[in-house]
């Protein structure tokens, strides 16, 4: 029995495109989606953001949802990406399969709560938004619009939520609890996040510069990225050719600080080691690393130290967050999909806005798109607040 975990569908929406093909074009042209705030209603216009270029009304329209429906932006982004993934995997009647949905999110319906919070407490004008505040309600909203799954749950480990959803989904397939799982994450921009990161003084007033000596913090983004995973055996039975495979994954905890990464990158190193061990691959077999690379002083140094402890020399590595912004809970899903699109089109995506090497590190990230560059295996890092670090290894189907 072939237990390899196959990826058979991808769905993505972010600042660089509303679907797979728009995303691929932006990626090929290194066209960043970061710019001046248009949709988020915050006073902090000094910070650039990576917004999905659609209003809530336009998103509802795209989702074919009635304009009066009570639904949050995070859920709308999720619906679009999940639908695109299901379509690519040729899944039409969800209830005909043992299919689950595991979604990662942290802000949930916060973008409505932050508008109406005082109304919730002092009057009855917007009570209809109370029930969509939490993370689980956001996932249930996606389920309501995309089909009769037999299982659904929500993971909330901050910026590694989507990656951890993939890990849980893969385990459920291996144990035979499900035949297929939709895994990934979704998160919209909120004043809550923007102000929160601002209090930590880790937001850059210019578009973020991951792995640059003069990096100055995060640029927040928004989006959703979902993958359909199933065992290879099940894909073959359905006559579906896998796009690629999940060959390894690891989850470890940095156990250092609630918001800062350890100086030696312990949690990051452990997560990468676990993923490599499961995949049976040697470090030199990894052709590309899509880094967590947020652009903060702390993350990029800590991650870089962990990477160079494990890889000698360090393989081509880039952070794609200067294109999309940091899509937080969705980042694991969005960036695995960006990397898969690059892999299928045989190029390595550049680390935009990079100029100077970080003094303490011995490697530089990819300076411009490397075309005609086949990837057989890549590693994706996804780290979150609380030291929730996860790494995933994806292998091409050639």
């Amino acid at each position: 029995m072939n237990q390899r975990i196959a990826i058979t569908g991808l769905g993505i929406i972010s600042a660089i495109g509303n679907n797979r093909s728009e995303t691929l074009q932006s990626l090929l042209q290194s066209r960043s989606g970061i710019g001046k705030m248009q949709y988020l209603n915050s006073v902090h216009h000094e910070f650039p953001v990576g917004e999905v270029k659609l209003s809530d009304a336009e998103l509802k329209d795209l989702c074919q949802i009635d304009s009066q429906t009570i639904i949050g932006r995070t859920t709308l982004l999720g619906i679009l990406a999940v639908r695109e993934a299901l379509k690519e995997a040729k899944i039409e009647q969800i209830e005909e399969h043992k299919i689950g949905l595991i979604s990662g999110t942290t802000v949930g319906g916060m973008e409505k709560s932050e508008q109406y919070y005082f109304d919730f407490l002092h009057n009855d004008l917007h009570n209809q938004y109370i029930n969509i505040h939490d993370c689980g309600a956001c996932t249930e909203g996606i389920v309501e619009q995309t089909g009769n799954y037999c299982f659904c749950t929500t993971i909330s480990t901050a910026c590694s939520s989507a990656a951890n959803a993939l890990i849980m989904g893969a385990n459920m397939l291996k144990a035979g609890y499900l035949d297929m799982v939709v895994v990934g994450g979704t998160e919209c921009l909120t004043k809550f996040h923007l102000n929160g990161f601002n209090t930590l003084m880790i937001l850059d007033k210019t578009p973020c510069k991951p792995f640059d000596q003069n990096r100055n913090g995060i640029t927040l983004g928004e989006g959703a990225g979902y993958l359909i995973i199933e065992t290879e055996e099940h894909a073959v039975k359905r006559n579906i050719k896998p796009i690629c495979f999940v060959s390894g994954y690891g989850n470890a905890c940095d156990a250092y600080h609630q918001t800062a990464s350890s100086p030696d990158g312990k949690g990051a190193l452990l997560a990468m080691q676990k993923a490599l061990k499961m995949s049976g691959l040697k470090p030199q077999e990894i052709d590309y690393i899509n880094a967590h690379g947020t652009g903060t002083h702390n993350n990029d140094l800590s991650e870089g130290i962990a990477v160079q402890q494990l890889f000698t020399p360090v393989p081509p590595i880039s952070s794609t967050k200067a294109l999309t912004g940091h899509t937080t809970s969705a980042a694991g899903g969005v960036e695995i999909i960006l990397s898969i699109l690059a892999m299928k089109n045989q190029f390595l995506p550049q680390n935009l806005n990079y100029q100077n090497k970080i003094e303490e590190l011995n490697f530089e990230p990819i300076k411009s798109n490397m075309l005609n560059h086949p990837i057989q295996h890549f590693l994706k890092n996804s780290f979150g607040f609380g030291g929730n670090n996860s790494s995933i290894i994806i292998s091409n189907n050639v």
Binding site: G136, C150, N388
Partner: protein, 354 residues
């Protein structure tokens, strides 16, 4: 694949009940009770305590109690379930942000606001670098965490896992949930748990921690044979799903000694259980707990802990009975919880004879 057995080897609970007792609380006018907290300073250093919110303190102490009870220091995994996460810190940051028009905000409440703060603070406290994750899915947050740990132990990926279910009920969130009809408007009476006639339930909060292990030892309370979380829709029948779940464990409902149900006094919620267990021909003993714990997104953890205790002690506290059928021995308990009839959690627990 070799399948490992999964045992409950330790429990820790912080609830509206005084430690070590089980009494019917005075629910009062508001139908809202808050935790009776343990002396946190006995477990956490004062420097750390000052910066921690209540839900994080409870999460940590609940975890420490379960580890101590199970004779374990560092678990292979820390997996949390929380419906609302650190809602008190979230509210504080949110209020300040709105009142101060996004200016002059302090980071502390934001730092502690993310849902994974509890799991992460336990890891930092224990210096535990292992698997660590957090589920937040309404009324099955805890069951999702339990299922993740169960699955990985069964597959041999973990030897043990600390499962932690934690939620706080702040006055503001209580008020918001009242507006959307969560709580009973009239004073709660015990009869509501036997035959609900009105909508709404009673509000509580708490932390319930469970140490799972693949090893049976002197600490063991019970074995978890199987878990299934079911998303309910018009095309899957729950009664049929329960039958299939028991069948795959070579059991039928008539062989189940007791069902631990998520009855909460809300007419709509309780009718789901009544249809399945009361009106049916098989008539197992029915056990209930939410009148003793209050309802909150992870209150099922309180019921799970009662189930584990019953299987170990073979003694059922009379307050837990909804309907009693005479049994010589409690061999199997079916734990059944649903959230708004949209997601159901089935957990089969069995006695562990040595």
């Amino acid at each position: 694949m070799k399948q490992h057995s999964v045992f409950i080897n330790g429990i820790g609970s912080i609830s509206i009940q005084k430690e070590g007792t089980l009494t019917l609380p005075e629910w009062g006018e508001e139908n809202y009770l808050r935790c009776i907290d343990p002396p946190f300073a006995q477990y956490i250093s004062p420097a750390l305590l000052r910066r921690m919110s209540k839900v994080v303190k409870r999460g940590i102490v609940g975890a420490l109690l379960a580890l101590q009870d199970g004779g374990m220091e560092i678990p292979d995994a820390i997996i949390s379930g929380t419906g609302l996460g650190c809602i008190e810190d979230t509210e504080k940051f949110l209020s300040a942000m709105i009142e101060q028009n996004e200016q002059f905000l302090q980071p502390t409440h934001f730092i502690q606001s993310t849902h994974n703060t509890i799991s992460s603070q336990i890891a930092i406290m224990l210096k535990c670098y292992n698997y660590n994750t957090t589920f937040s899915h309404l009324g099955i947050s805890l069951e999702s965490a339990l299922f993740d740990g169960f699955l990985q132990i069964k597959m041999g990926m973990l030897s043990n896992a600390l499962i932690n279910g934690c939620d706080e009920m702040t006055p503001d969130y209580h008020l918001m949930l009242r507006k959307v009809g969560f709580w009973k408007r009239s004073p709660f009476q015990i009869e509501d748990m036997h035959k609900a006639t009105t909508s709404g339930t009673v509000a509580g909060e708490g932390c319930n921690s469970i140490l799972l292990s693949n090893e049976k030892n002197e600490h063991t309370y019970a074995e978890i044979n199987d878990i299934q979380l079911i998303h309910h829709h018009e095309k899957n029948n729950i009664e049929e799903q329960i039958r299939l779940f028991l069948n795959r464990n070579e059991l039928s409902l008539s062989e189940i000694d007791a069902v631990m149900m998520g009855t909460n006094g809300d007419i709509e919620n309780d009718s789901v259980y009544d249809k399945l267990y009361f009106e049916g021909k098989d008539n197992p003993t029915q056990l209930i707990y939410r009148h003793l714990s209050g309802d909150y997104f992870t209150s099922s953890g309180f019921g799970l802990i009662q189930s584990a205790r019953i299987l170990k002690s073979q003694d059922i506290e009379p307050l837990l009975y909804r309907k009693e059928s005479k049994k010589d021995k409690i061999q199997h308990i079916l734990f059944h919880n649903h959230y708004k009839n949209s997601t159901h959690a089935l957990i089969l627990l069995s006695v562990c004879s040595n």
